[in-house]
């Protein structure tokens, strides 16, 4: 660290205490200014990011206005850019992933927080943290080489046979598509749901559980009817957090969704997501309008995750305050 050599070091004892205090204050001022510059640069970078997305998409925003969000056609050659298929693909895959990840994640969180002994719980949480660290491109590799063939030969035909009367499960089974992308996403977001929900469940005051048990509730009834409702907002927070992750996830989805800008009722059909479109087309954008439309997609993605993260944070803070508030009372 550059600041370790102190100006006060060389001061002779004769220079007087007044001098010393002055110089020390001076050093504090310098340290304050230096660290302030770094802190301010964080704010500056964030503002710059928002600004560059906003300005970078100006052309597309003016040209298409609101119709950008409702147009189904994405045709770079004709210069027509509509974001609807991408927004649809992003939302559908996110919803599929939540349907799978939420029950599994909350179930696991309940086990870790309520049942498992502290040592077991901490060990499992350690593995869950490692799972959260697995890079998304690796999920993509497993997705195309394992899950896609599995979906194509077994799961999708089986779904078609049993649930084929629902439009969601009709059409040819290629293996790639919304359903596969949703499943891969689900595996990726489960760790986030588990970690945050476990924390929130652990913050529920002990007397809540004891009161329920003393009234004759079984262990599950005390958990499901007392503890989980108490932690409800925080668990919702973990779900929003996971949803934000799912929406912004790029590589794994790009590798298994099929990359066809279309809207289809079937989950077996291939589609496209916002992040995948940017990843695939940004480098090869054929015209300024094309790259601006892609940046506008980035802006949409940014706003979506911004809102969801904001809601998640509020919900999580609300529960942890409620938990500690009651514990103190």
């Amino acid at each position: 660290m550059a600041t370790t050599t102190s100006p006060a070091h060389g001061a002779s004892p004769l220079s007087g205490s007044r001098h010393f205090v002055n110089r020390a204050d001076h050093g504090d001022e310098i340290a304050r200014v230096i660290t302030f510059i770094f802190a301010a640069s964080v704010v500056l970078i964030t503002l710059l990011l928002v600004l560059s997305l906003w300005q970078g998409s100006a052309l597309a925003r003016h040209k298409f206005g609101f119709s950008f969000f409702v147009t189904q056609v994405w045709d770079p050659n004709a210069g027509i850019f509509g974001a609807l298929p991408f927004i649809y693909g992003t939302l559908v895959t996110a919803v599929v992933s939540l349907l799978i990840a939420v029950p599994l994640g909350i179930g696991a969180a309940i086990f870790l927080a309520e049942l498992a002994p502290a040592r077991v719980s901490d060990t499992l949480e350690f593995f869950i943290d490692l799972l959260a660290a697995v890079p998304s491109v690796i999920y993509g590799v497993l997705g195309i080489f394992l899950i896609v063939p599995l979906m194509r030969s077994y799961i999708e035909p089986a779904l078609k046979k049993t649930l084929g009367f629902i439009p969601l499960f009709q059409g040819p089974a290629y293996g790639i598509g919304f359903l596969t992308a949703g499943i891969v996403l689900a595996v990726m977001i489960i760790p986030y749901i588990i970690s945050v929900s476990r924390e929130v469940l652990l913050s529920v005051p002990r007397d809540q559980r004891e009161a329920a048990l003393s009234l004759g509730a079984t262990r599950w009834e005390s958990t499901w009817k007392v503890v989980v409702p108490f932690a409800r907002t925080g668990i919702m927070g973990s779900i929003f957090l996971a949803l934000a992750r799912a929406l912004g996830e790029t590589m794994a989805v790009t590798m298994v969704i099929g990359n066809t800008p279309q809207i289809s009722a079937s989950l077996f059909a291939s589609g496209y997501s916002i992040a995948a479109a940017i990843a695939n087309e940004f480098n090869e954008a054929s015209s300024p309008l094309h790259s601006q439309a892609l940046i506008e997609l980035g802006l949409v993605l940014f706003l979506l995750t911004f809102i969801l993260n904001g809601i998640a944070r509020l919900l999580i803070i609300a529960t942890s305050q409620r938990g500690s508030g009651t514990a103190n009372a």
């Binding site: 504090d28 964080v42 990011l49 660290a133 697995v134 993509g140 760790p191």
Partner: protein, 282 residues
Amino acid sequence: MNARLRWRKFLSNFMLTMTGVCAVVSVAVLFFILGCLVYQGGTSINWNFFTKLPVPVGETGGGMANAIVGTGELLILATLFGVPIGFFGAVYLAEFSGSAMAFVVRYAADLLNGVPSIVIGIFAYAVAVHPFGHFSTYAGGFALGLMMIPITLRSTEEFLLAVPRTLREGAMALGASKWKTIVTVIVPAAYRGILTAILLAVARVAGETAPLLFTAFGNTYWSKGLKDATSSLPAVIYSYALSPYDDWHRQAWAAGLVLLVLVLVINIVARGILSRGISVPR
């Protein structure tokens, strides 16, 4: 015991068992992923993999030396850019800041943390590629560094604030100025936590692919320098996995194994540093 009570007890046991199953399934995924990569990629890992350049389709052998070095360079650049901003910003938040400024900085950091990595890529392209007219290792490092800032900042701040007040007051009472207290007492007391935060941030960006697509791009040869586009493990895995060649698929599995082991080892080391105890008594 009447039937209703028996049903309730059964339901309780059943549901609690199911939560256990959920937990086991979730953790099993980690070992399944690791097992798959070892099984599929383990055989392709040999000396050549770490020392040779990729070979054209059809030739066997070859390696990913350029991607491994590229990932190393990118991570060093990202650390050099992201960690100072995160660290000194955290010192400001923990030691100097008023509450209004602290709120703004924390808010900005949380916002930056939530930005999808592909959007970080667009921003890095606009700032570090477009003005210069070419892809570069610098730009890739910049993109990854951006992602490291909020992680380093928020955890460093947390660990600095966790240093007991008594240590701070002790130093002040000995006549140390504020910055001297920070440099000689507070930061050393929190260094384990800070190191953990930095390592976790490195692990987090090591596997990122999306921000590199428009910045470091990729390169089939050695990068000619930091101003040149560079290959990286995640980018190679992505392009090889999507290629139609079996040889390249095997290489993708092997690279995936190397990347996963790298990320997991950094994570385990980081958590090990922290769990050996906070370096100050609380």
